[in-house]
Amino acid sequence: MSSLLSVKKLNVSFSSRGETIHAVNNLSFNLDQNEILGIVGESGSGKSQTVLSIMGLLESNGRSSGSVIFKDTELIGLSSAELNKVRGNKIGMIFQDPMSSLNPYISIGQQMSGVLRQHRPDYAKAETKERCIELLDSVGIPKPAQRYEGYSFELSGGMRQRVMIASALLTNPDLLIADEPTTALDVTVQEKILDLILEVREKFSMAVILITHDLGVVARTCQNVLVMKNGDPQEYGGINQIFYSPRSDYTKELLEKSREVSIYEDQEEEAKPKQNKDVVVSANETTVSFEMPKQTLFSSKEELIAVNNISIKVYDGEVLGVVGESGSGKSTLAKTFLALQKPTSGSVEVFGQNLSEINKRKMKEAHKKTQVVFQDPFSSLNPRMTVYEILAEPLNSFFSAMSKDSKDKDIENGITEVGLGADYLGRYPHELSGGQCQRVAIARALMPKPQLLICDEAVSALDASIRGEIIDLLLKIKREKKLTMIFIAHDLAVVRKICDRVIVMKTGEIVEKGTTSHVFNNPEKNYTKNLLSSVPLPDPELEQKKYKARRARSNSSSDSM
């Protein structure tokens, strides 16, 4: 049997300001009918450019050469009119960011029927609509007929990705290309989307190319794996070979890194919760609610309760992890500790001061002791300030009496402490990589010598290897400065690695709390168990078992219905 897709010596390059940048070098692989191939690599490895060149979707300054044969058709060099007979018809594609990949200005129905109008011009209008609704239904969208009329921004991220999948499947394609389909989603949603991809693959009997940076995702989904680095293929083989007897050094390195931050690893001696220590933060029956816009003139006011009656204490020197899906209220809770959000009821005490009652001067003192690092390192640094100015700002506001010389010295110490040299001080944020930006953000947070550091998804936007480095940096800082830390993350592996205690949040409430090892090893609540088991691990056999168990469970539950 000839293969469905055969890529031979594919090269992709970009010309930018007279320079040529090679994104993919000499890549060859084959894809059979019904095969699931995973392409893994970190950002910049050329994995996305590979599939974009297959689809003829490279940016205008990109060039591809080599050969991509899909069902006896050479795709490289095909005119866009010819390509349009293949893409969206024989090959469906879904993208990383379901938020922006759907058009918010036209209805979901208009978008989906546009695909059919293009590739199935013989369909009648009613037939087109029927087919779209059928597909929406088959990817698990509730009330598909209603959604057909609706818009993408009315849906959650997971639902949007389902709509994307439904649109890609409208024409019964032979190949589905999924470019980081779950990276922007919560773990529990990720699990469902990956299961859905496996399910529709069987139902529509098609092949899948799954691109991801997460080895766990590959382990749970794919049959064959292609590992890439800087545009070069590193290793290509079956999933068991790649995971259990990797040949290339880079694959070994990737696997090591992904296992390093795995949730089932045993930690060294567990730090006992120190009850006799001082309480740094205490939330007492804290509730935060937001008023929702009224639906009609006469409807009653609706409230969204983001944080619901939460009481916790954070002790001096500990690292408290806060985990939960998006929308669980974890960031809102952190904002109340920073006095960025006033609790609707209840109180928040930080260093013994009730934040809603203290005056401006005391508030400044509290801000000095409490600092924060946010998720997106690019947007949380002012793009018009140099690193020096960014680091000087907390000094100017908290230590205005300080001399310029000692400020300069502090700033220099600050930047070296986070592993960057003094030569970075003159740069602007856009001249730094994501990891370097986050280092600057951490240095900035440490400038006023805080005692409490709140990390709000501080490593979520970073690549796996950089994530490891930043976590190590945070741990080092915590040890050296005896900081108390509150670490908010949806990434459970990270929390497992650095936190002493964990609280699990769901829709504004604490579902479970306890020491990290207790919560991770013996979760009591179903919600926590679900959350933990939905994290994909870089272990194909284990993932297979988990998948079979889920299938069995969902089958039995649907039988009993």
């Binding site: 893409r87 922006s100 058009n103 818009y151």
Partner: protein, 310 residues
């Protein structure tokens, strides 16, 4: 339901704006030196005193303002000081159709050509075509219409003799071409630049990539996916554009000798015809507020996000 509430809210919000506009215009007109009865040969004092009393000009200023607002509320702009036998309302009624014809053609022309030129430039981004369109766009924006209009007259009326240099001639097509062009050109240029920028941004968005991956040809992507979000900023510019067209028409009508509102406005201002100037200002104010309201409502229909949150 919510749309009605929105429109009603905007109407109520317009009242203080209008009041402020009336007061400002009132004091500005009063602050200008001279008065309506300053003629070359001064009137006998008794006559002037009688005239002032007849037009309530001997009252204290606040009382005049109060009376004026009162009569406007009844829809009465008062008699013109200059055109003795007409009320201001009659003058507006005779001038407005001319101005409307001019302004409406100018706006339509600006919209049509602006979007087409902008789209062409965006689709040929960073080519010679794009650069030249943007170059002429910049020129169109920076040359004021009182320079453009005589230039057009010079070229098309005097050198080429295709269009008449002035006059209304009951709105004959040939007579309208030059004034409409002079009035619309800066707007064409502005809308073209706006459309180009907006479309380039939309073209680079992820949902366009999705549509390409779905095998939809570029033509259909432009019409089905790109045009609507591209036009949003253009629609919201229509409010300011009307204001610009109205102010432009004051000059253009004067240059081409069209008997529109703008000409009354200029002559009223020169002659200290208080009621006429005030009347036209208030009328223009209402017009601009109403048009902005219409634009906002249209915007709500195009952008589904606003439709649902309203």
């Amino acid at each position: 339901m919510n749309n009605i509430k929105f429109v009603l809210g905007r109407f109520l919000g317009a009242i203080p704006t209008l009041l402020a506009l009336i007061c400002l215009a009132f004091f500005l007109v009063k602050a200008a030196p001279g008065g309506p009865f300053d003629l070359e040969r001064s009137l006998p004092e008794e006559v002037e005193a009688n005239l002032r009393a007849a037009y309530n000009l001997d009252d204290p200023v606040y009382k005049q303002l109060y009376k004026y607002i009162g009569s406007i509320l009844q829809g009465d702009f008062g008699p013109s000081f200059q055109y003795r036998d007409y009320t201001v309302t009659e003058l507006i009624a005779s001038g407005f159709p001319v101005s409307l014809r001019l302004g409406a053609f100018a706006i339509l022309l600006a919209l049509l050509f602006g979007t087409i030129i902008g789209t062409t430039a965006a689709l040929n981004q960073n080519t010679k075509l794009d650069y030249s369109v943007m170059f002429f766009g910049m020129i169109g924006i920076s040359i004021p219409n009182f320079v453009m209009a005589p230039l057009l007259v010079l070229l098309f009326s005097i050198v080429l003799s295709v269009f008449p240099a002035g006059g209304y001639n009951n709105g004959a097509f040939l007579n309208m071409v030059l004034p409409v062009t002079a009035l619309a050109l800066p707007q064409v240029a502005y809308i073209a630049r706006l459309t180009r920028g907006s479309m380039i941004e939309v073209l680079s968005s992820n949902f366009v990539r999705t549509a390409k991956a779905q095998g939809i040809p570029m033509r259909n992507i432009i019409f089905g996916h790109v045009l609507k979000p591209t036009l949003l900023p253009v629609v919201s510019y229509l409010g300011p554009a009307t204001a610009a067209i109205i102010t432009g028409s004051v000059v253009v009508e004067q240059i081409f000798g069209l008997p529109g509102l703008g000409r009354y406005f200029v002559q009223g201002a020169l002659n200290r015809d208080y009621t006429l100037v005030m009347g036209v200002v208030v009328f223009y104010g209402c017009l601009i507020i109403a048009f902005n309201l219409i634009v906002d409502t249209i915007y709500g229909f195009i952008d589904p996000k606003i439709k649902t949150s309203r």
